[in-house]
Amino acid sequence: MPISQSLFRRTNLLLMAAGLAVLVAIVGATLWLTLATERNFADVVAVREVRSASADLMSLVQDAETGQRGFLLTRDPAYLDPYTNAVARFEARFKRLTVAVADLPDMDPFVDRLEVSLNAKMAELARTVAAAQSGDFAGAVAMVGEGRGKSLMDEARAGFSSILERSEATLVAAIAAQEATAARLRWVTIIGAIIILALAGAAAWTIIGYTGEIMTARRELESLNAGLEERVAERTDAVVKANEEIQRFAYIVTHDLRAPLVNIMGFTSELESTFKPIEAYVDAEGEKADDLKAEAVLALKTDAPEALDFIRSSTRKMDGLINAILKISREGARALKPERLMLEPQLEAAAAAVHHQAAETGGGITIDAQVDKMVTDRFSLDQIVGNLLDNAIKYRAPDRPLQIVARTLAPRSGWVAIEIEDNGRGIAAGDHERIFELFRRSGTQNTPGEGIGLAHVRSLVRNLGGDITVRSEFGVGTTFTVLLPADLRTVKRSNQT
């Protein structure tokens, strides 16, 4: 299917738009996935912060407990320093944990519970330290011995570990989410690349196809162009040839018509001059008349009839010439009736009409119909073939049996060539054009003829849109080739329409 220019433009625009859309989609998806990555990364950072804050707080609380234990054991206030430091920094450390935890979901209950345990622990530590500072070391140790501090510490540891567990879960989720995001990004990139490649391929295919068509069209145009030039040259040749023939025809007609006219005028004046001796004889008297008688008799009996004979024969000749010209010109004006003809029976019928004449010489007519049918004017074709066969018989070589081959072939598509080949006396090379001219003949004039047949055939062939050519070797034989359009209806005739 040929691609039209608008279709090509639409297809390419569509492909380009699709490519652009895919590109935008890829960029969008990438941006979105990058955002997801950022989110996941923030989660990871938050978890890390929670773990770090938890560990710090835990170690602070342990520091506080260590300080308390050291002080109670040694009763040396110097051991109380870790406790005092821890108490001083407890608020800030706890605050840091609550801030860190705020970024993670569903952590508040755990933090609240941890806060309660830690506050209780810190309160217990404060109570024992306060008791010891007031000098009641025994009471303070007894308080530690109750085990409440230990159980609070265990609670706090459990609180920390549940926070860590919780944040661990978040970390695992964030990592999984990140892996999924990375996979998605990979797929989007791969699929997008495939789609863009496919679109580019489709566009390239369309362009290559379209370019190919343009090249083909251009080649066709070039060959058409060349063909056109050839046809113009052919037509010009034909026109020049036809023009030359018309001039030649006009010349022949005027010359041949003028010749008998000169005779008529000449012998009229000769006839006139025969009157003089007769007149003289009639006017003369006596002996003088006898002298003039012989001359008058000669004029009356010989010169006058001769002049009249020539006048008569010239008039007849002129009439014949005019009839021949009329016949040929009528041929050009006759309406042609194109009909489907089977060539073999057509040639057989034409051959049958002259067969006995060919058979008399011991020869025969062979028919070789390589092309079977054509559409043309039956009457014209009969006349053409009939005339050519007549000529072949008329101008046979007397010393050998006459062999005629009537052949049809297709030299090129749309044309039919009819060849009539004989082994007759042949035509001298100088006369190959002349034989087609009106009133012209070639070779020894040993058969009657007017020089009309081939002129008539040529005008018939031309009328059918064809041409006739001759190949001949003097003394060997002659082949006439009639080239006709295979279908007369396809020939535009300027004198019709």
Binding site: H255, D256, P260, V262, N263, F267, S269, F310, G430, R441
Partner: protein, 147 residues
């Protein structure tokens, strides 16, 4: 034409009426030489060059050739070419007497060696007059013997 051997006029003219009129008018000019008429080129060539076509038959003849260009079987120009191309006939004067007044044809005939080219006048008066003058011309002209 006062020679030991009489000059023969070979007249190649396809129209018998023309031939007769030419003969009459030449005679009227006082030319009494033999006139050998031919109505076609084939017979004329046979006479001029013999059956073998060598032209030996014309050796020793004194010929003047009157030639019409429009012949039924061949062009008069072909005859002219043959006559002027043959060693035995090339010195024979050739008078082309024809209706053609085409300048190229006239040039061609002179190129081929025609000695005189005369266009037949269309009206008979002119025709008769031209032939008579040609006859007078014949009567004073020298014709060589062919080798």
């Amino acid at each position: 034409m006062t020679h030991a051997k009489p000059v023969s006029i070979v007249m190649i003219e396809d129209d018998e009426g023309h031939a007769r009129l030419i003969e009459k008018n030449i005679r009227r000019a006082g030319v009494n030489n033999e006139i050998i008429p031919f109505t076609n080129g084939t017979d004329a060539l046979a006479y001029l060059f013999g059956a073998d076509g060598s032209g030996m038959v014309s050796s020793g003849r004194q010929l003047l050739i009157l030639l019409d260009l429009n012949l039924p079987d061949m062009g008069g120009v072909d005859i002219l070419e043959k006559v002027k191309g043959n060693v035995h006939t090339k010195r024979s004067p050739v008078v082309v007497l024809t209706t053609t007044d085409d300048s190229r044809e006239i040039q061609r005939c002179y190129d081929l060696g025609a000695n005189v080219y005369i266009t037949k006048p269309v009206n008979y008066e002119g025709f008769a007059n031209a032939i008579r003058q040609l006859g007078l011309f014949f009567s004073v002209m020298q014709v060589p013997e062919t080798p």
